[in-house]
């Protein structure tokens, strides 16, 4: 079962490229869409059916006896747990929401085929990251995600896109070095690369073992765009085609970086005090810096990029806090932020189509001509800012409570204040883009059609539904 998530994208990729040239792009898009949809549905069914036991099972490291020799180093086992399902579900929902936008923003058949093919590779990597059970396989799938992402960013071909892709390539290269160095050290001290080795290295592995863990974690933090390793994020998100930005912010970056951190923290279980504290610190730093930087931006995509930096901070802070509420809050925020941020990038794509720019200064009064885009944008951004009763409110609430309960009261307060800053820049964006007086010389904007509106509406429904149903959903996992 678990292997299907990894293998199906691979077969779909081959199938789409074997077809006659004219059919390739539509079939590739159709297959990708179908895969995302199927993946979301399957993950949802599994998640609901196994809800009761997952929270506890997910909190401990996957067991499994390490083998011997090369098998121990390079064993390739896949396993489903709460976090795999959350990641797979998020990927499915984001893909379903982004693909129609991508289709209608890319007019060239060749680009469509390239995009779909790369997306299939990306999907394979994401699912792999979500399912693997050892560090080396994790590294391999992270690289699969990263490499397909470089090309996705740069495929637009404009100078800005090339710059964004290149920046990601360079800084991600450093991350790769850090990851490999960490793996090397862990191999040296622990002899195997199962997730359990992380806990051993952090606990009894001495200085070298802990160095290995922290180097591995630093690599993951870079891939995930955490402060102070976030430098590639704004340029990459701004330079990439908006549909790609939506995909990256929604799931790709999270899968390659944040999800790795999730695995590390889960492996540490209750141990790893100093590492855990350092991760909470990084999370809070990301929250604060991302929020302040978001306030200063003049471009919607750049603002959303910083917003993503800020939001992934909540995931790691909640997770590293270490109790069940933090775990649930982080999982919920993982999903909620994936839904909302990819929807916002989709909305920005719609605004770009209408006005030709994503700058905040060159638009205004769009709310009149584009009421659905405006309304769904407001819903999604208020959710990210953590306003009740939307989904982001519950996830942030759980994270903050978890921080408070585990004795990080200062961090909890900081997280709440930063969420006010988030609200501030989103409201500024709404005002300038949707409500301020329109320039009378500019032709009034109109909605971009079903390809933009249906995903936005669907994701908003998910957002509001999760928000309203949160007490029920949380109750499903906390018995």
């Amino acid at each position: 079962m678990a292997y299907a998530f990894v293998i199906l994208p691979f077969f779909a990729l081959i199938l789409a490229n074997l077809l006659p040239r004219r059919a390739r792009a539509p079939v590739a898009f159709g297959l990708t869409f179908a895969l995302f949809l199927a993946q979301a549905a399957a993950a949802l069914v599994l998640l609901v059916s196994r809800a009761g036991g997952l929270a506890e099972a997910g909190a401990v490291a996957p067991s499994g006896s390490p083998g011997a020799g090369l098998e121990a180093l390079l064993g390739f086992h896949l396993r489903l747990d709460l976090w795999s399902l959350v990641a797979i579900l998020s990927a499915g929902v984001v893909g379903v929401g982004v693909l129609p936008v991508a289709w209608s923003t890319m007019r060239d058949e060749g680009r469509r085929l390239t995009f779909a093919s790369l997306l299939l590779i990306n999907l394979m990597g994401i699912d792999g990251v979500a399912l693997v059970t050892d560090l080396f396989s994790l590294y391999v799938f992270i690289e699969i995600v990263s490499i397909s992402t470089y090309v996705l960013i740069a495929m637009g071909g404009e100078a800005q896109a090339i710059e964004g892709g290149f920046k990601y390539l360079v800084l991600s290269g450093v991350a790769t070095v850090l990851l490999l160095a960490g793996i090397a050290l862990l191999t040296l001290t622990e002899g195997d690369l199962s997730f359990a080795s992380l806990a051993r290295a952090a606990g009894t592995g001495g200085g070298l073992g802990r160095l290995g863990v922290i180097l591995f974690a630093a690599g993951l933090l870079t891939k995930g765009g955490f402060v102070p390793f976030h430098w590639w994020v704004p340029d990459a998100y701004t330079g990439a085609p908006t549909a790609v930005s939506a995909l990256m912010a929604g799931i790709a970056t999270k899968a390659s970086g944040t999800f790795g951190i999730v695995r590390v923290v889960l492996a540490l279980s209750q141990g790893g005090g100093a590492i855990r504290e350092a991760l909470i610190g990084v999370g809070i730093l990301s929250i604060v810096v991302g929020a302040f930087a978001g306030l200063a931006q003049r471009d919607a995509k750049r603002m959303l990029a910083y917003s993503s930096v800020s939001q992934v901070g909540y995931i790691v802070a909640g997770l590293a806090a270490g109790n069940l509420l933090g775990l649930l809050g982080a999982a919920l925020h993982f999903f909620s932020h994936a839904v909302c941020t990819s929807q916002l990038f989709g909305n920005v794509a719609s605004l770009e189509r209408a006005t030709g720019s994503s700058g905040l200064d060159r638009s205004g009064g769009l709310g009149k001509g584009m009421p659905i885009t405006a309304g769904t944008s407001v819903l999604a951004s208020l959710s990210i800012a953590g306003l009740p009763p939307l989904s982001g409110f519950w996830s942030k609430l759980l994270v903050v409570i978890a921080l408070w309960q585990t004795g990080h009261q200062g961090y909890a307060v900081t997280a709440v204040v930063a969420s006010l800053l988030t609200l501030a820049y989103f409201i500024g964006w709404h005002r300038r883009t949707f409500w301020a007086n329109a320039d009378p010389a500019v032709r009034p904007a109109v909605e971009g059609g079903a390809a933009f509106l249906l995903p936005a509406i669907a994701l908003s429904v998910v957002n509001v539904g999760i928000g309203l149903g949160s007490p029920f959903i949380i109750g499903l996992f906390v018995r």
């Binding site: 920046k167 160095l211 922290i214 590492i275 302040f292 930087a293 306030l295 200063a296 800053l421």
Partner: protein, 662 residues
């Protein structure tokens, strides 16, 4: 369903008031007729239903709160009284307010007030009582606003003061309900100690605030000037006293066990005695008919509070008897003031004089009600005061002395008032004054017996043509125009006053009727079989009262001789060596608790504004500044230089390692 007729006195006036509200227009007479008819129906209902002792209890939204109504002998008695005053005042108002600004709204408020007052009297649940009680706050405000254009600040003043006392009442109700574990009035009987004593004091504040006792009185004299006169006769003079004292009696007798030895009893007596003395001293110095009456309306509350506060049966009976007596003669007095205002155009004592020749009937009625409030035997005021005196003397001579002194000054001030208005050289009031009448739009069309002002006559003309009775009454004044001067008031004005004056006589001469029939059943077994009807039980006290009245007359004659006019009859008291300075301060309004409170509030507002500016600065300068600095720094760090990024990352990684590995 049994007891459903208890809804009638509440919902008939309320429903009719909404009819008035919706269908009446400025200047139309429909609302006045409807109000008159409904108040007559209300009177009939309460009189017919007087013997009924029923109750009804509808479950409300939660157990603990119930829409519970109960007719007790106390409430039945007061229902009739309220209905009677309501009917008389509305009858009076149909003519008095004719053509005035916002008269239709006055009738709406009057009916609404009637319904709410009946609700207060019937409610058997503290929360329900509070709801009706708060409604009265709004109608008070609304009725004052229907007065002249300048009435709004006064309305605000009354609202603030009464709302504050109502807040205390609310807190008291919550506390009492919590202590007793129920809000059912008939089920609460708490010992007046500990938290229950606090609840009692809070409820006391609410009751005294409604009754207009000191120190919650200061809006009443202002309202006397600004509000329409029927309002004064209706609410502060009668209805609010009835309701306030009703609540006071209920909390003292039923809700709490306040004994003779309780400090709460002493507290009430002190408040009562102070109210009697201070208010009557202020009344003595007034130079306006209506303000003088307003201060007496405050002063007389003191007797009721003092009587009930003694916690002796004789005092309670006296206080309640005084309550109904006061309502009768004080609304009568206000109505005579209205009559004078309507016919002479002013109520300033300095501009009036010798009206007894022009308005003999009004004068005669005034003499009766003024004698009653002064406590002249054999009128009703004499008998109720005697009962209060007896109880006060029983509890301590200072209380008795204060009450007696108050009586002296009351008599002196009414001698002064009567002399200044009705006797002495003829001063025609404002109708024939050389300067044109006050051009206050609120008073346009105020009087029928108009003299020189053509504008007023024109404004009145359509109304007069449409109302035969009014036209007949007004015709002489209008036709003889310039030289005729002041005329007697028409029958709609005189009949209510006459009824009230007759009631004064009746309740005095046949005091067994109210005492045995109405008041003593309220106390029931507490009286232990004794009755206070008939002549005063203590001859020395009665003689002392009569002696005090003689002193008042003597003082008046002395004052008239000294100052040469009725208006100055009390000047020798006001300018007495010690009192003079005190009066100067008090008359300037600086002792008004409301004025002091306003100064305090203004100071507080300035203080808070300072704090607000400071907080604003934090928001507008500090936070915005800090935000732009921090955001700017972070943005500048994103310089586009790979080298710098790599350096940052390496530094960060090293830091992480240092933190973790150490």
């Amino acid at each position: 369903m049994n007891g459903v007729e208890l809804f009638l006195p509440i919902f008939v006036p309320l429903g009719a008031s909404f009819f008035c509200f919706i269908f009446s227009r400025e200047g139309s007479r429909g609302s006045g007729i409807v109000a008159l008819a409904v108040s007559a129906v209300n009177l009939a209902v309460t009189v017919i239903g007087f013997p009924l002792r029923e109750s009804i209890d509808l479950r409300w939204f939660e157990p603990g709160f119930a829409f519970a109504l109960t007719a007790t002998s106390f409430s039945a008695f007061l229902l009739v009284a309220v209905a009677g005053f309501g009917f008389l005042v509305i009858l009076y108002s149909t003519l008095f307010l004719k053509g005035r600004r916002a008269a239709h709204r006055f009738f709406f408020y009057a009916l609404f007030t009637l319904g709410l007052a009946n609700g207060v009297l019937l409610a058997d649940d503290l929360v329900l009582l509070l709801i009706f009680w708060e409604g009265l706050l709004l109608t008070t405000f609304g009725m004052i606003v229907t007065g002249r254009a300048a009435a709004f600040p006064t309305a605000i003043k009354s609202f603030v003061i009464v709302a504050l006392t109502d807040l205390c009442l609310m807190a008291g109700i919550i506390l009492a309900g919590t202590e007793a574990h129920t809000f059912r009035i008939s089920a609460i009987h708490l010992p007046a100690t500990g938290p229950a004593a606090v609840a009692f004091v809070l409820l006391l504040v609410g009751a005294l605030g409604k009754a207009g006792s000191m120190p919650f009185h200061s809006w009443i004299p202002d309202a006397a000037v600004d509000a329409p006169l029927p309002f004064m006769a209706f609410l502060p003079a009668s209805l609010e006293k009835l309701l306030g004292i009703y609540l006071l009696a209920r909390i003292t007798l039923d809700l709490f066990a306040v004994g003779v030895g309780s400090w709460l009893s002493t507290l009430m007596m002190i408040v009562g005695a102070a109210t009697i003395l201070l208010a009557v001293m202020m009344a003595l110095a007034q130079k306006s008919y209506k303000r003088l009456l307003a201060y007496h309306a405050i002063s007389q509350v003191g007797y009721m509070v003092l009587g009930i506060g003694t916690a002796l049966p004789v005092g309670i009976v006296g206080g309640l008897f005084h309550m109904i007596n006061h309502a009768i003669y004080k609304s009568g007095l206000f109505l005579t003031a209205g009559s004078v205002e309507r016919q002479a155009g002013t109520t300033e004592l300095g501009e009036l004089g010798g009206l007894s020749r022009k308005m003999p009937i009004t004068f005669a009625l005034f003499v009766v009600v003024a004698a009653s409030i002064s406590g002249v035997p054999p009128l009703n005021g004499f008998f109720s005061k005697e009962l209060v005196y007896e109880a006060a003397l029983d509890r301590g001579w200072p209380f008795y002395a204060a009450a007696l002194l108050g009586s002296l000054l009351t008599a002196a001030s009414f001698l002064k008032l009567g002399h200044a208005v009705y006797l002495g050289p003829e001063r025609p009031g404002r109708r024939l004054a050389s300067d044109p009448p006050e051009a206050d739009p609120a008073f346009v069309g105020g009087g029928g017996g108009a003299g020189g002002d053509a504008r007023i006559r024109d404004a009145d003309a359509p109304d007069r043509a449409a109302d035969p009775a009014g036209a007949a009454a007004c015709a002489p004044g209008a036709s003889s125009g310039e030289a005729a001067g002041v005329r007697e008031a028409p029958w709609q004005i005189l009949v209510p006053i006459a009824v009230l004056a007759a009631a004064c006589l009746l309740f005095g001469l046949a005091n067994a009727l109210p005492l045995r029939g109405l008041i003593e059943p309220i106390l029931g077994h507490r009286l232990g079989g004794q009755s206070f009807a008939g002549l005063p039980r203590s001859l020395p006290l009665a003689l002392a009262t009569i002696g005090v009245l003689c002193v008042a007359v003597a003082s008046h004659l002395y004052g008239v001789r000294r100052s040469g006019s009725g208006l100055g009859a009390a000047d020798h008291l006001i300018h007495a060596p010690l009192l003079g300075r005190l009066y100067a301060v008090a008359l300037s309004g600086r002792l008004d608790p409301y004025a002091i409170g306003r100064v305090a509030v203004r100071f507080l507002a300035r203080l808070l504004r300072g704090v607000d500016r400071g907080v604003d600065w934090v928001y507008e300068r500090l936070i915005v500044g800090a935000k732009s600095i921090v955001s700017g720094l972070i943005s500048r760090a994103q310089s586009g230089s790979y080298q710098l990024y790599l350096v940052w990352m390496v530094v960060a990684a090293i830091l992480l390692v240092l933190v973790v590995v150490r």
